[in-house]
Symmetry: C2
Subunit: 375 residues, 2 copies
């Protein structure tokens, strides 16, 4: 069976974990946590990074930092993972679900403005498949209506956006706050894991407190206060050094991993764009303002039936294709709270999008076998 995903071990993970244990510090915010955070800050120009136990937790930190409370509205695409919405729901927000673009599962940037009310506080673009939303449009809306932008960059490590000013910016460095994932299905991994990035100075100091169970322990360790105590809300958002040490090994191989994933993606694309694919209406396209971080290779089928048939056919050839999100506005938990608007593009991707295997150790022979069976 060719699996959909296979975690890749670079080889140094357990070495770094042993080093962390030997150093006498495996709880959070130790040497490897700092190495990872400083690496990301410097490579991608984030103002401050904090590792978290999951992308969900990073999004929860955003909701807390933005003082989300009952009555606030948050605009979120319906075609996304539960956590994008749930993190804000936990703080009491009402989610206003946005539709996807017709040509891409990402939020339709031109349909956001009509969802903004006096209660709107945050827009949460999701960079689906690591492909940038058109951030110029979203940041312009945020400025116009005095809103915050939280980038859900779960899939978007090492991907970029070039706006009208011609500057190429890392995804996650554009909104006020952003959240990344290192879940085992991502480009670089720690099993479960995530990261909060802060690009607005106003949130830097408080972020460390919320991260450390509402205490000013981080300041204490730096000698900035002479005892630490309970000063704010928060949770235990910081991961074990075991997780950070694992991630550090992945980071050291990031360029090699990215090179390999892009080769796989390109091979799929070049073979498939010239093929005659019955029942498949769309290959992924990368807009000019975006880069491709080769997080995902997806196809859009013409109907749910076609997709079901395709998954079944490939499974009989021992190839695992998997669909992706269900529409959150139709979920059991939110359907009664949703305002009833149809979100047709979201529904289409929920029914028709399917993802191909894409992982570091996927061989050319396996790719060719997959493509052959898609025809």
């Amino acid at each position: 069976m060719i699996p959909f995903n296979k975690p890749y071990l670079t080889g140094k993970e357990t070495l770094y974990i042993e080093d962390a244990v030997k150093s006498g510090k495996i709880s959070g915010n130790g040497k490897y946590t700092k190495l990872c955070q400083e690496y990301f800050q410097s490579r991608y120009n984030f103002k401050k990074c904090l590792l978290t136990t999951s992308c969900t937790d990073a999004l929860e930190m955003c909701a807390i930092l933005l003082n989300i409370a009952p009555g606030d509205e948050v605009i979120v695409p319906s075609y996304t993972f539960v956590s994008t919405a749930l993190a804000f729901v936990r703080q009491g927000a009402k989610i206003v679900f946005a539709d996807s673009r017709a040509d891409h599962p990402g939020i339709d940037e031109d349909k956001i403005e009509e969802l903004i009310t006096a209660k709107t506080k945050v827009i949460v673009p999701v960079h689906y498949a690591g492909v940038a939303c058109d951030m110029d449009k979203i940041m312009a809306l945020a400025n116009k209506y005095n809103l915050f932008v939280v980038e859900d960059a779960a899939q978007a490590i090492d991907s970029f956006y070039t706006g009208a000013d011609g500057i190429k910016r890392a995804l996650g460095s554009i909104g006020h706050l952003s959240a990344f994932s290192f879940h085992e299905t991502k480009n670089i991994i720690s099993g479960e894991g995530g990261m909060l990035c802060i690009n607005d100075d106003r949130f830097v100091k408080r972020s460390e407190i919320i991260w450390e169970k509402g205490t000013n322990r981080a300041e204490f360790f730096r000698g900035e206060v002479n005892k630490y105590g309970w000063v704010d809300t928060g949770s235990s958002f910081l991961p074990s050094e075991i997780i950070a040490a694992f991630l550090w090994a992945q980071i050291k191989n990031l360029d090699e991993i990215q090179k390999k994933r892009k080769e796989i993606w390109e091979r799929y694309y070049n073979l498939l764009r010239s093929a005659e694919l019955s029942g498949i209406v769309r290959l992924p396209e990368i807009p000019d303002y975006a880069t491709n971080n080769a997080h995902m290779f997806y196809l859009v089928c013409s109907t749910l039936g076609n997709r079901t048939d395709l998954i079944k056919k490939l499974k009989s050839e021992e190839i695992l294709l998997v669909f992706h999100y269900l529409a959150l506005h139709k979920s059991e938990f939110y359907i009664e709270k949703h305002d009833g608007r149809d979100l047709k593009n979201c529904d289409k991707f929920a029914d028709c999008l399917v993802r191909l295997p894409l992982f570091f150790e996927l061989s050319n022979n396996e790719i060719d076998k997959i493509v052959l069976n898609l025809n």
Copy 2:
């Protein structure tokens, strides 16, 4: 320098982590998570266990499962870690702080009833130093007033309580819900990590959903539903398999670790109880109904000044003693919300309690040196 704590590596941790990676599954709820959970369920007679990324997260799950909402009151000892209170505060609870016993930092069981009002929903006993609170008294109050009991068993792995019925029960198995910690300072560790235990059937099904970001994914994986979606609130409470694999290695050495820690504790106790200790008024005592899991060895000094002097003196001999909690009812975050009651025993332990080094690799020579310098 003799440190206060030193994480102990049993030797199999990285082997199991590599095995997890090779199996192709390092996100949560995999083989090692199940091994750990089943082990604890079976050894300690918990109805259901779920590993979490921290004890804080396990306590948050308790607050969610108990539907804590603004207006609810939760009784928590003031002499405890921030998370015991914070997890309930995040759901909107008002914390009613209880005092410690005169003879022990644990909650004064005889002073709880006067704190109960019509709004009280939960009592949270903390088994300080792994020594049981008198659970018969607390469960009787819960029954009388129809309250829930959440045991904060962060320090209490492998410790027991024997009630009036003569049955010896594991701490964490008595209240409706309980929470454990595997933070690096605990008896068995995963750097950061925790566990929720559920002893009341009413919470079993929903606990898995809350654990998995409000989705019924766990049921889906067992084939009980044919697709999974967003059905409830929750978060990403489950840890990476990397953490579970590490913990599994610790579990396999639990008996050896416990034996060694108890030897260290006994050596301290036997040397210190016959010594003349100036400025020290109390050694830890284990009530008849409790066992000693050798999580901690503490002393109570007669004054804050004596404690400060003692810490300074031992530091000059390269021995690290550390104090413990600050009173939460006097914290910057809660002092204005607290009802103003004095909590004298809590204040005493906050000022006067000091902890001695206690870890697996602490040698007899080191213990003797520490005791010599305490005299």
